[in-house]
Symmetry: C2
Subunit: 327 residues, 2 copies
Amino acid sequence: MQILIIGGAGMIGAKLARRLAQEGQLAGKTITHLTLADWVQPFAPENAPFAIKATALDVAAPGNAEKLVADRPEVIFHLAAIVSGEAETDFDKGYRTNLDGTRMLFEAIRRVGHGYRPRVVFTSSIAVFGAPFPDAIPDDFFHTPLTSYGTQKAISELLLSDYTRRGFMDGVGIRLPTVCVRPGKPNLAASGFFSNIIREPLTGHEAVLPVAEDVRHWHASPRTAVGFLIHAAGLDGVALGPRRNLTMPGLSVTVGEQIAALGKVAGKAVVARIRRQPDETIMRIVAGWPRNFAPERALELGFRADPSFKEIIRIHIEDELGGTWVK
Amino acid sequence: MQILIIGGAGMIGAKLARRLAQEGQLAGKTITHLTLADWVQPFAPENAPFAIKATALDVAAPGNAEKLVADRPEVIFHLAAIVSGEAETDFDKGYRTNLDGTRMLFEAIRRVGHGYRPRVVFTSSIAVFGAPFPDAIPDDFFHTPLTSYGTQKAISELLLSDYTRRGFMDGVGIRLPTVCVRPGKPNLAASGFFSNIIREPLTGHEAVLPVAEDVRHWHASPRTAVGFLIHAAGLDGVALGPRRNLTMPGLSVTVGEQIAALGKVAGKAVVARIRRQPDETIMRIVAGWPRNFAPERALELGFRADPSFKEIIRIHIEDELGGTWVK
């Protein structure tokens, strides 16, 4: 089986590639080739039992999507996107990558023809939803995004459904929760604190908490997010029917519950490294974000959230910190 | 006030132009210029108290949208679309006109800049919804279109909201009910019979009814549909907020209720001209269509459905048949 990951240099794309290299198979089929593509050169995982090609290119530039699908990969993971903040500050760049890039990929798949109909797993976002929300957003809630990023993801979902319904491909869109604990350095993303308050204290650094402890949000560990992608690749398309975009299950917890879990897993001294410094701007942004969902359809299809925030922290310590932390 | 109607040669566009010519004003402002644009040359209404320019052009061809907005019309009605059946048979043409054409218009508006922020009234469609449905579709129900046309309309709604939120224009999208009684000749559209069974018997012709009398559907007269466009042009954009796309109120009636109303308005001899000839294909298509909505938001904003199907028939007789029919 040939697999293509577009966005293979990103955090989730790289973790997915490593997981595929470990498992050697996907949806019950042995992997023979993996192509990783991204704006920047992706790193190929080591010791994979299959051939890997890593290529740097812009999928939204004419002709590149055609090159990527010319070998007719059976499964395509389309993860590439300009992130929310950048899509908001650079309107044209966001539409070019997040809308035109996705549409060009789908068009390139369609134009291969001759019965080519790959499974396309597309990472959408809960940013397709915009406040005000019900307490738990149901699967049939409408899309009223309040960012250009969310708009581009919602449009891509519609294209995915239509290209699938017309028989050009076999798409599944999955709306990932906020990925937490996100590895790497603190960044200026408004959502960064959800990860910062766990990741930084565990390595002995101070973290700033800009919101109140009763702020509730929707989380998945990177390991669980990668598991969603793999599970989506193996879903029965016929059983799925025409409604191809799914809200993934997440763990709905408050910041207070995050901190309590950190205390239980890592101890009081670690928690003491969190400094409260309220930020009105971040509080206002976060107030417009979804807090909780009722993702019944995804649960019926076998997607499972992380069981607890303690487990999310343990996964971070195991996968990113070699099993230990600064006490 | 300058006004632009794109799709000015269509049935609704032509009726809107005539109504504006009669009223001479829109949203409390005197109309000074009206431009009608369409693929084919639109007819300018007679005796208008303002200047009219009618132009044939393809809004999806490069440069044309820019030409249309160069005079900075304050209100733009964007009604132009490839119809549902053609968008399904010609995939590329549907996307080119219904998606790219709309996006090019919004982009052209954005690029005028210098504070230009016109009210854009866009006709969307209940085809953004796809079965299965609840008994009455609420305003917050999700969009899972089952046609490429519905997909293109749903995407255009998302673009309209985002371009409005970003301050590039001041858009309102309205999802029209099925327009009934549609004037003109019977056509092969699957929905044609809803109008045919009223229009043809009233002029002494036989009409074929291909479905059972318990089929329920969502209707608005052409006069009411034009009224929706005019009301949308005058809505307070600030009060509307970021949710810019609205399901219009319609009249939810069964085919049996349509026929009973025809009998009451026009007599038994007219009703006798309806011939039952069940058509499995049409029955199957119609089964996937929305039947009823709960358009609370539009009602709060002052949009009003036709009061009864008898009234819809009377409007047809008055507006299209000079007040009389073949008894």
